[in-house]
């Protein structure tokens, strides 16, 4: 049984398999991501990138193998501790997952409300993050009234507002034009420079080549490089 592990690693996967019925989404995946590392997980659609990220924040359970996040063995974590594990992550979902009945401010503030911060701190922090992503003018807008790029920026703001240890981004530039992609990437890079670990799942090889960061290649559920 694996527990704790190398202190410099924040994410460790050991021979992880994930099956959905007879479909094998991830096969024998073993990897090690260090603290304050910027990693791309690349591969074509259906390669298992989203599945891999989901397993990290317990959006799904492994079929076999073990995962350790910040010293916590995910196969041993009690159900009531799962929310606290998830607070280590700032997650940018491929489909943004913004609450359509809440304003931009409320969507982002929710992360800080969950961790019981004061109203004054929440207001200050949310406004500051929105300024950084250039969305301070849309603070009271509802997600359906925003463009794809704007929604993506709100999703990024929500992911970083709680100062998580790890940013998990699933195709964060997938639906964006080159300029918007560049803004999002710069923002994530700033966060990395402040000490966070950033894991980006993408099929955008141009972005990967330009940035010269670590890359894990996935193909048909297997890590190939």
């Amino acid at each position: 049984m694996i527990d704790g592990g190398d202190n410099s690693s924040i994410i460790r996967m050991f021979h992880v398999h994930k099956h959905y019925g007879s479909k094998k989404a991830l096969i024998n995946a073993t990897l090690d991501i260090h603290r304050n590392e910027f990693v791309f997980i690349c591969g074509p659609s259906g390669a298992g990138k989203t599945t891999l990220l989901k397993l990290l924040y317990l959006g799904d359970k492994v079929s076999a193998g073990q995962i350790i996040v910040d010293g916590i063995n995910l196969s041993r974590i009690p159900r009531k501790r799962i929310p606290f594990l998830r607070r280590k992550f700032g997650i940018i979902f491929q489909d943004y997952k913004l609450i359509s009945t809440k304003t931009v401010f409320e969507n982002i503030a929710l992360v800080l409300e969950v961790t019981r911060n004061t109203r004054r701190f929440i207001e200050k922090k949310v406004k500051s993050v929105l300024r950084t992503v250039g969305m301070e003018g849309r603070i009271n807008a509802y997600p359906p009234s925003l463009s794809g790029g704007e929604q993506q920026r709100v999703a990024v703001a929500r992911a970083v507002v709680g100062d998580p240890k790890v940013i998990l981004a699933d195709e964060p530039t997938g639906n964006l034009d080159a300029e918007s992609s560049h803004i999002i990437f710069d923002f994530l890079n700033q966060f990395y420079n402040r000490g966070a670990t950033v894991v980006i799942a993408t099929h955008d090889l141009n972005l990967v080549r330009k940035t010269k960061k670590s890359v894990i290649h996935l193909n048909q559920g297997q890590i190939v490089a």
Binding site: P83, T101, V111
Partner: protein, 293 residues
């Protein structure tokens, strides 16, 4: 943080006005029906108690008795448990009383050749024994005295009324249970519908690290508010016909004969608390099922 939960609960109520309205109405109707029954029962019970308090047992003698025998019987009755006082009423006194009661029709008694009324003892009962079972028991003991020919205390009416009340009590329990279950079921389903309409939001909240407690508390507050509002509306709806009936009874009868009352404050609050409990229970059942999936 508490104010945040209240804010989210109120937002939840306002977001689903129709669904919330249906739930509150269900609460109100259930409270109205059960409490109407309860109110009738409380007043009927009061009436029965006041009737029981006025009860005296009359012990009649079949023939004229010697003074010594009368004293003997009086002593025996006085020793019986539950007896407060025993007073002798001679047949002459009884006839005079009858004449006084008949007033204008007293002439009907003028042609009597002899007094047909028997001598009697009027037995008053102590407050603690003014219950139908104890009265019956005492009456049986008095009847067992050989010189006592008959005892009378309105047994038939008391028994009938008592039986009707018992039937009402039983029906009340059944109705209460039925409405309790129906309301919990409806509230649980309403909350489930609200949860279903918010399933995406709940899923997102869980993904960003919200605990089950953080998600559940506003729903519990919603349930408690629904219960309190439903209870208040139900009791208000009951008060209107009650007031009308009470006014009519006061006009038609002496209010001392039929003293009717609404729920005292503690019962009123108890009903609201019960209603809030039902709201909480409905939430608990649906949240338990929904969040454990």
């Amino acid at each position: 943080m508490t104010s945040l939960f209240y804010k989210r609960a109120i937002e939840g109520i306002l977001e689903n006005k129709f669904l919330q309205g249906v739930t509150i109405l269900t609460f109100a109707l259930s409270i109205l029906i059960v409490c109407a029954y309860l109110l009738f029962f409380i007043n009927a019970n009061d009436f029965m108690n006041s009737w029981e308090k006025g009860i005296r047992i009359m012990a009649y003698f079949g023939s004229d008795q010697h003074q010594e025998e009368l004293e003997n019987v009086k002593r025996k009755i006085q020793k019986m448990p539950g007896v407060q006082s025993v007073r002798f009423i001679s047949k002459e006194e009884a006839l005079n009383r009858m004449k006084e009661k008949l007033k204008t029709q007293a002439s009907l008694l003028m042609d009597l050749k002899e007094n047909p009324l028997p001598d009697a003892f009027e037995v008053k009962i102590i407050a603690a024994s003014q219950r139908i079972g104890k009265i019956e028991n005492l009456a049986t003991q008095i009847k067992a005295i050989p010189s006592v020919d008959e005892v009378e205390y309105g047994r038939r009416w008391l028994n009938r009324f008592s039986n009707v009340l018992a039937l009402f009590r039983l029906t009340g329990y059944a109705l209460g249970g039925l409405f309790f279950m129906a309301t919990v079921f409806i509230v649980a389903n309403t909350i489930r519908l609200a949860l279903y309409s918010k399933r995406e939001e709940i899923e997102i909240m869980r993904l960003i690290g919200a605990t089950d407690r953080f998600i559940k508390i506003p729903f519990y507050i919603e349930g408690l508010i629904q219960g309190a509002l439903g209870g208040l509306i139900g009791l208000s709806l009951l008060f209107i016909p009650f007031k009308w009936i009470a006014t009519n009874i006061e006009h038609s009868f002496s209010s001392a004969l039929f003293p009717i009352r609404f729920f005292p404050l503690e019962v009123f609050l108890g009903i609201i608390i019960c209603s809030m409990f039902v709201g909480w229970l409905g939430c608990y059942l649906s949240l338990k099922q929904f969040l454990e999936v």
